[in-house]
């Protein structure tokens, strides 16, 4: 049974909007030109490749369903557990749960347990149920086994990559011979830095293929307290981060745009009221507001358990609510920017000219002001993304973030609090959360920089591509 959670619906809506905009913009040079500049940016495209990988995982993780577990008198019975297409894909990882902690690539549990064999009790490190289970003597065979599996998977990765590269070259050959086209791509003579993107993709494949291949025989990032595979948790956290980073802006945009433009364009008492509103909102510490609202929400959810069929629905509602709260507290910055811009645009001569024609105010806002502030909106949305992902981590750590049952970077970090204090230390859940979050936020930031450079004419820097020749004649 297909389940569409609230956030799923919104994620699909957002993807649809982005697709529609892409089609629309591709036909309009002034809209597509800055994107072409993004396309020419090396760091921008490298980070875009990484982001696309994250987004694909997030999207796959947004197709939810409830598997059928039995048929009772012709009527199917569905599990209460909501799974996603992604869960399905990494089923082995999800199902391979140990009893408790185990370190990365280990074949043994992390702590000694008392086992009774032949009536003798002994305290040993027991073998794991899944990690390296098919090895007879892990001490000797483990490393060669890991290397062998990685190598095979890496070769597979290279194969797939070569296929993709060949398709790309083929599509770009346009009249040239295949080797010519290939060399022009690999020497970076194309407008879009395909060589950098292919390089990044190769690096990703060389990591992802082995990691994925190994994950069915080992726990690449170890297991956590209840024996869940940490690699799986980290991958699942991606969706939560993406949802927070994108849906929050979706919630915030209408407020920021509407109020900002109103204040700037119409001015007068409306301007005073809106300014007053956001100044006031700004002076309340956001954490306070968020904590209060989230706790209130939690009370409501707890009081009405009947509203939710599954745990996932409960957690999802809280996630959505968190997005809204974060949106409510973060629209002020953009709103202030837009007010300033609208104030400036209002004096622009083309707007005066439109007024001289008696064009209505609504039309002026939609046709003249809105399109001319969209670049600001876009820049601030991409810049905001990473800070929202980080905000989620902090809030969940404090306990006012997502539902504890929801896998997210924040909840992973939260549980790491105790793990780091253990002796010997359990470091891998935190490390995994750190690595994934770092990769995501860094690439988002680099991409945001590329977008800002492309859309904001003031920050554009020219590349030095003038031939250093003294005389080319």
């Amino acid at each position: 049974m297909v389940v569409i959670l609230w956030t799923d619906g919104l994620v699909f809506l957002l993807s649809g909007l982005i697709l529609a905009f892409a089609v629309y913009a591709s036909r309009r040079p002034h809209l597509s030109l800055p994107w072409r500049r993004v396309g020419q940016s090396r760091s921008g495209m490298i980070s875009a490749v990484i982001l696309i990988c994250f987004v694909s995982i997030g999207l796959l993780d947004s197709f939810h369903f409830r598997p059928q577990i039995a048929i009772d008198k012709g009527k199917p019975i569905y599990s209460v557990e909501v799974l996603s297409a992604f869960d399905f894909l990494v089923e082995t990882m999800r199902n391979h749960t140990e009893r408790t902690y185990s370190s990365p690539f280990s074949a043994y549990a992390f702590s000694r347990e008392t086992v009774a064999s032949d009536g003798v009790q002994s305290r040993i490190y027991p073998r794991l149920r899944y990690g390296g289970a098919d090895l007879a003597d892990p001490g000797r065979e483990r490393i060669p086994d890991i290397l062998k599996r990685s190598l095979v998977a890496a070769l597979e990765g290279i194969g797939v990559w070569a296929l993709l590269a060949a398709i790309l070259v083929f599509r770009h050959s346009g009249g040239k011979s295949f080797p010519d086209a290939a060399s022009s791509i690999f020497r970076g003579e194309t407008e879009i830095p395909w060589n950098a993107m292919l390089g990044t993709l190769l690096a990703i494949f060389l990591i992802a293929f082995p990691a994925f291949a190994l994950s069915s025989h080992y726990h690449v990032f170890g297991t956590d307290k209840v024996g869940q595979d940490v690699f799986y948790l980290a991958l699942k956290s991606i969706r939560t981060g993406l949802v927070i980073g994108t849906l929050t802006t979706l919630v915030m945009l209408p407020f920021a745009i509407f109020l900002g433009i109103m204040a700037g364009y119409l001015g007068g008492w409306l301007d005073d009221v809106i300014q007053y509103l956001y100044t006031m909102l700004n002076s309340i510490p956001a954490v306070l507001l968020i904590a209060a609202s989230v706790l209130m929400m939690q009370v409501y959810i707890d009081a009405h358990p009947a509203l939710f069929e599954t745990m996932a629905e409960r957690a999802d509602l809280r996630l959505l609510f968190l997005c809204m709260i974060l949106g409510m507290t973060s629209w002020t910055g953009l709103c202030r920017l837009l007010r300033g811009e609208a104030l400036k645009l209002r004096e622009m001569e083309y707007i005066l000219a439109a007024q001289a024609f008696g064009v209505s105010r609504l039309r002026i806002v939609t046709r003249h002001i809105l399109p001319n502030v969209m670049h600001i909106v876009l820049i601030s949305v991409v810049m905001e993304f990473s800070s929202l992902v980080l905000a989620e981590a902090v809030l969940s750590y404090v306990g006012v973030g997502v539902d504890p049952s929801m896998i997210s970077f924040g909840t992973m970090i939260n549980s790491a609090r105790l793990e780091m204090a253990r002796e010997p230390m359990v470091w891998w859940p935190l490390a995994a959360a750190f690595v994934f979050m770092f990769a995501m936020v860094l690439s988002a930031n680099l991409f945001a920089d590329a977008v800002r450079d492309a859309f904001d004419p003031r920050t554009r820097v020219a590349s030095r591509r003038i031939p250093p020749v003294k005389d080319e004649a």
Binding site: P29, H30, M348, E349, Y350, I351, L352, A353, A354, Q355, A356, F357, G358, V359, R367, H368, P371, N372, V461, A462, S463, R464, R465, I466, P467, P468, V469, K470, D471, E472
Partner: protein
């Protein structure tokens, strides 16, 4: 040995992947104590030449060939550190935008001090003395006090003086002045040019003057080089150049200047636009726009020829030939001038626009700026009223208030027999139908996100789709743009073309009166001529009236039937163009007319002293009395009433009142 010598300089810039050959083989030399003028339209590479000399090119730029010699030694082979000793100490520079060239957070004293510290080692006291001396030298009143001020506390003209003081701090041998007065009003321009001349005489420095204004060249230069599309096409002494410009391009520049003698004819114009410098050229770069071009011009780039008086790059002077024969001169098309007095179309009575000045935490109204203060005039059908005055005197505000784009504080605007102030949105929309406006900046007046078609359709909301289509085509044809222009975006057009689009947009509603707010001041002379011709033709064809706001007197002389001179929110003199321009009565009008640099050369003049006072706090009595050479006791207490001098000539000055027997000048 010349002081400064450029030898085959080539400076390229990278722009969106294209190589822009901004300076492409430029050679000239500047001698000690002379003023060498580099003349050319915008985008031809003048600024890049001067920045190359200073080695201050933007990141995207690079000198690819040639050399620059200062007193015989190459500047390009100097290390950056050595170059820093040259900058300021040997070669100073001032830029076009005084507002952008001063650091807003540093006191003037510290900015000048910085230069002094770099190049002269003075103790504290000597340093302070020198700063005050420099400010005094450039004519800043109360230099001791003003040295403590920040740049924003200075007006545009005063900022330019501070810039000059900074450039002169280390007593350079050459001063590069890149359009030093383009951003300033004529009266201030006259002051700055006079200042440069006197400083040059006193200090004996050479000036490399970069400008697009023939009048400025004529007043300042000893030698001239004309630049076109990255190359120099003519060099001559000032006298030879103004007596007989040789290159066809130079001749066209003269011919496209508007002026009194050309009233009633169409201006000669250069067709087309300056070619983009990212293109490869073969042959003469002016060939596409030249009336004399022949086959050779398109194939072979001309070399230098002597025309007897000047050096020219034009094939027509090869082998001692005499140059272009002018019998192909475009016959001046007589323009029918609707001279009979028409019906009054627009009449403005006692119109005032006061802007509140808000202060403090609660934005209390602390006072008012009387941007427009009791202005009355009227415009007849088919006539042009020119409104002239310095920037900041309220011209644009008046224009906007007439169209009700700003709510007037008081007074009446009567259009076509109907009062249009105080109307509601809906009734205003109808009443305003016949009134339109064209703005100064063609880059700000078209929405960059809309196609030309959508821009033009804005005024045609009541029309059916078929009619619209026909009307758009008709309008594009009318303003001289091709049919496919409608599907393009504004950024694909040059400044002049954009101004045509703005005109077409205004024409879309069949207006009867268009307020033209400095429509040509952002354009080059050759393009200005195209726009002025267009406006003049539209007036003849459709009987349009214009309220033409400008500070360019030669445009007024060429176009206007009536003139109103505005000073600090009030009209101080108005009347028929012939009367006001030939016999200006108000001392301000006299100063304004005298300040216009003329291509006939330097003339002694009555200059307006000081700057325009702030409109927020105008002087008591006659607003002009602080600057007026004829100021009398009553001028300081009472604003003069209008006095009639002739049938339509009216002036507000105590010199002409009944209580004084003044004679004017």
């Amino acid at each position: 040995m010349s002081l400064l010598e450029l030898e085959n300089l080539r400076t390229f810039l990278e722009n969106n992947g294209n190589i822009v050959r901004a300076v492409d083989g430029v050679s000239f030399s500047v001698e000690k104590g002379e003023t060498f003028a580099l003349l050319g339209e915008s985008g031809c590479g003048k600024s890049m030449t001067s920045l190359s000399v200073m080695r201050l090119l933007p990141d995207a730029g690079r000198i690819v060939d040639g050399d620059i010699f200062f007193q015989g030694s190459s500047l390009l082979s100097l290390p950056e550190k050595g170059m820093r000793d040259i900058r300021g100490k040997k070669i100073g520079i001032i830029f076009q935008e005084p507002g952008l060239s001063l650091n807003p957070v540093l006191r003037v004293r510290d900015q000048i001090g910085e230069v002094l510290d770099r190049h002269a080692h003075l103790d504290r006291e000597a340093r302070n003395k020198r700063i005050v001396e420099l400010l005094d030298q450039v004519g800043i009143p109360d230099p001791e006090l003003r040295a403590e001020d920040y740049p924003f506390q200075f007006s545009g003209g005063m900022k330019q003086r501070v810039m000059i003081a900074m450039a002169l701090a280390a007593e350079p041998d050459v001063l590069i002045a890149d359009e030093p007065t383009t951003a300033l009003d004529v009266t201030i321009q006259a002051q700055i040019l006079e200042l440069l001349r006197s400083l040059q005489k006193k200090l004996g420095m050479a000036i490399l003057l970069i400008t697009h204004d023939l009048g400025v060249v004529s007043e300042m230069a000893s030698r001239v080089a004309v630049m076109y599309a990255g190359e120099i096409v003519e060099t001559a002494s000032r006298d030879a150049f103004f007596a007989r410009p040789a290159h066809p391009y130079s001749r066209k520049l003269f011919a496209s200047l508007p002026g009194r003698e050309k009233r009633g004819e169409m201006l000669d114009m250069i067709r087309g636009v300056v070619p983009p410098l990212s293109r490869e050229f073969s042959g003469c770069r002016f060939a596409e726009r030249c009336d004399h071009a022949f086959d050779l011009c398109r194939e072979v780039s001309p070399i230098w020829h002597d025309s007897g008086g000047s050096l020219v790059r034009c094939h027509l002077y090869a082998d001692g030939r005499p140059g272009p024969v002018e019998e192909r001169k475009v016959v001046a098309e007589p323009v029918p001038r609707p001279d009979m007095p028409g019906e009054i179309l627009l009449s403005v009575r006692d119109l005032s626009v006061h802007f509140p000045i808000r202060k403090g935490l609660f934005k209390r109204v602390a006072g008012h700026v009387a941007a427009v203060d009791g202005v009355s005039f009227s415009i007849a059908e088919g006539k042009t009223l020119a409104l002239v005055g310095e920037s900041g005197c309220g011209k644009t505000t008046l224009g906007k208030a007439i169209l009700q784009l700003l709510a007037p504080t008081s007074g009446s605007v009567n259009y076509d027999g109907k009062e249009i102030t105080g109307l509601g949105r809906r009734s205003l929309k109808k009443a305003r139908q016949g009134l339109q406006i064209i703005f100064q900046d063609p880059y700000a007046s078209l929405n960059p996100r809309m196609r030309i078609r959508e821009i033009m359709e804005e005024g045609m909301q009541g029309m059916g789709a078929g009619d619209r289509n026909a009307h758009i085509l008709e309008l594009l044809e009318e303003v001289g743009l091709s049919e496919d222009a409608q599907y393009r975006y504004p950024h694909e057009f040059s400044g002049g073309q954009r101004q045509r689009i703005a005109i077409a947009r205004a024409l879309a509603v069949n207006p009867r009166l268009i307020v033209c707010d400095e429509p040509t001041s952002a354009l080059d002379v050759s393009v200005q001529a195209q726009i002025l011709n267009l406006l003049k033709r539209l007036q003849a064809d459709h009987g349009l009236s214009f309220l033409f706001i400008t500070h360019n007197i030669s445009v007024v002389e060429y176009l206007a039937h009536e003139v109103a001179v505005m000073y600090l929110g009030r009209i101080v003199e108005k009347g028929r163009a012939e009367d006001v321009l030939t016999a200006p009565a108000h001392p301000y009008t006299q100063a304004l007319l005298a300040a216009v640099p003329s291509i006939a050369g330097r003339t002694p003049r009555a200059m307006a002293r000081f700057d325009l006072p702030s409109p927020a706090d105008p002087p008591a009595g006659c607003h002009y009395h602080l600057r007026c050479p004829h100021s009398m006791p009553q001028c300081e207490t009472r604003y003069p009433e209008p006095t009639r001098l002739g049938e339509s000539h009216e002036v507000r000055c105590h010199l002409y009142g009944n209580d004084t027997a003044g004679t004017g000048d």
